[in-house]
Symmetry: none
Subunit: 211 residues, 4 copies
DNA sequence: GATGAATGAGTATTCATTCAT
DNA sequence: AATGAATGAATACTCATTCAT
């Protein structure tokens, strides 16, 4: 199942690889940018900060990125690649759709915690630019992958047959991500996390289960 | 029901009123800011743009706002006030909880369309500042209000009794707002809107209904 | 005769005066700009150099000039005002047209020597900008003034009656200025200057005299 | 007559030839530079623009030109070569000095129109550098050639015998070029051109004719 | 000779903020 | 309260030039 998505993932990877020059300056700059911007915020990060950390010259930045703004989609793409990679990895070991959903929620919370700052910068960065559509484009492979989970679940009669899989895919992913973000951004107590996740799963289950 | 929230709403209003001077300069500046920033984006909008549109002097801005950054929570607050006001207004005419939900979805889509730009600027503005918690604080009255809808629905045995109302309130509001945003940001065809909304409502209904 | 040109001169002066604020910051910046650019050349002069010399803040420059480029027409205008002022002053004491011509040549050489650098920067500055027409516009009062000299000379039967005064005015002014520039730019020996000027005057006289 | 100038011309040519490599890269770069700079102006033209148009690598530029600045004298030299070549070509068919003068004026106007942009860039370029003397040096063969025209005219008793030929040569060339430039830069109506040229010729004739 | 990736110095311009009036 | 002239810090981006291949 995931097989056919590897292609898309690969196409992303290819894009990335296309940028992989000799000494991997593209990657070095991108990683430095993520690190610095995550810490200081997009506005307060100067190109100078980034190149200093990356150990390249000021002008080199512009050999790989058209502008400061062009960093954001690259970062977002990077984040999605990591996210989707990690989630696929975990989920593929499960065969039951409900277990998949649980693992998906688990992993989303986990990644959200780890990449909290990057997630925030992607939101703000893409919003600034009025390029929220780019976000949707970047998320496309994620949506696609989850749609297939849903379809399989429907085929196995475990999921509600009449749902609109495309829309539902987006609603579920958003619901879970947002719940996770609210959990970590709001800095709620860690001890409630399992209860919180259960509630999210229960909410989804009631919506998704076959009836 | 709304009664007890008037307090909080008032506290917001009070904040606003405190700033209401003679010629309503606070409001004039705020409205100008919303208009200009919605159009040009936060970054490309200068205080100069705002005061020019408001017809006041440069320095006057700082009599009402501590800094440019301080505009965002004010704008967000203004948006929430409008949103919550409009939704309450519409919803209060309904007695059935499912009708309330429908009207709530309708109105959210409506407002999202109308205030699309402002919503985007609030996201990016608050994210920039790493002050996403402020957003939650501002949304508090909205969450509270919806919780009461849920509670009433539970009491009337129409809604699922074991839900965690606080969390569910947030999940539902987020789900609907996000669906609406995706609809208008993605610029999907208008003719699918009713189907789309129905799907959202159906999704929620399956989760929320008593069983 | 000069009376009627005072108007135009005044209009220039007025323009200048309009810019004369409280502490004469406009003039201070303009004079500093002339000084620094004359010395270092336009390209190698930074706004920082100018404001430092003028004793104002960086941003203050932009209160009085739209851009670095906008300096050049201002400088050119300033130069013309000085030039025309000085020449008029000297020439008005002469009644004979040939004496006027002599004094005009004398004074042109004199001013060219004194303002050599400024003249060069005006040439290059206006050429850079492809705004050579501006130069013509700025020179207009000069051309006008000289036309009247020619007309008076024609009326007194001393100058060739069938010349085209407007074109001749431009040709003569250019001829003399260019001769002077070539003299000082080429750094010819000072001892030849009187002979050189005589040759220029003789050349002109043969062209202009009534016959 | 031109014979003796061939040397100088050759010296120029030699300079050029010295740079003529295998695939004529020098010429390719020079022509590209003229084209691009004429269009965009010196300041806004980057070496990158030039090499891109020339179809050579960035570094190749520096094999043929020491720096960006070094382009200007090369362009000016190129312009003079073209100008002098064209004018000589036309004038040599005339035997009468007055006809030569007419043809000289005609051709100067013609070339000024055709190379307007290049002329402007030479002015500004050389002025920027404070290297106006270079311009004189480049023009030397032109002055020399015209001096000989004058000498021949004097010998044939058609021209005024007591003129200073060297200075007069420069004055005349400048007068005509400047008149032409003013004509095309000022964008005067084309229908006046013949009248305009006649006036220039008449002005010169009165100065130059034997008396 | 040719290349073109890498460099890093250099700067015009913007704009949030202040404060004397 | 209101003004708006003045400030000066801050920075994205350019591009001439170099040099290892």
């Amino acid at each position: 199942m995931e097989q056919q998505f590897n292609e898309k993932t690969d196409s992303n990877a290819t894009t990335t690889q296309a940028k992989q020059t000799a000494d991997g300056k593209y990657a070095k700059i991108l990683q430095s940018a993520i690190a610095v911007i995550s810490e200081k915020g997009l506005d307060k990060t100067s190109i100078s900060d980034i190149v200093k950390k990356a150990g390249v010259a000021q002008g080199t930045f512009y050999l790989y990125f058209e502008s400061k703004t062009a960093l954001i989609p690259a970062i977002a793409n990077n984040l999605l690649t990591i996210t989707l990679g990690a989630i696929k990895e975990k989920v593929q070991h499960e065969s039951d759709v409900w277990r998949k959903l649980e693992v998906f929620v688990d992993e989303t919370f986990h990644i959200t915690e780890a990449y909290r700052d990057v997630i925030v910068l992607c939101y703000s960065g893409l919003a600034i630019d009025n390029s929220l559509e780019k976000w949707e484009a970047i998320y496309q492979p994620y949506y696609d992958w989850f749609e297939h989970i849903l379809i399989k679940g429907i085929e196995s009669k475990q999921l509600y047959a009449h749902m609109h899989v495309e829309w539902t895919s987006r609603m579920v992913i958003n619901l879970v991500e947002n719940a996770a973000e609210r959990f970590y951004i709001g800095k709620e107590q860690q001890n409630t996390i399992e209860v919180y996740k259960s509630e999210v799963i229960a909410f989804l289950q009631r919506s998704l289960e076959a009836r």
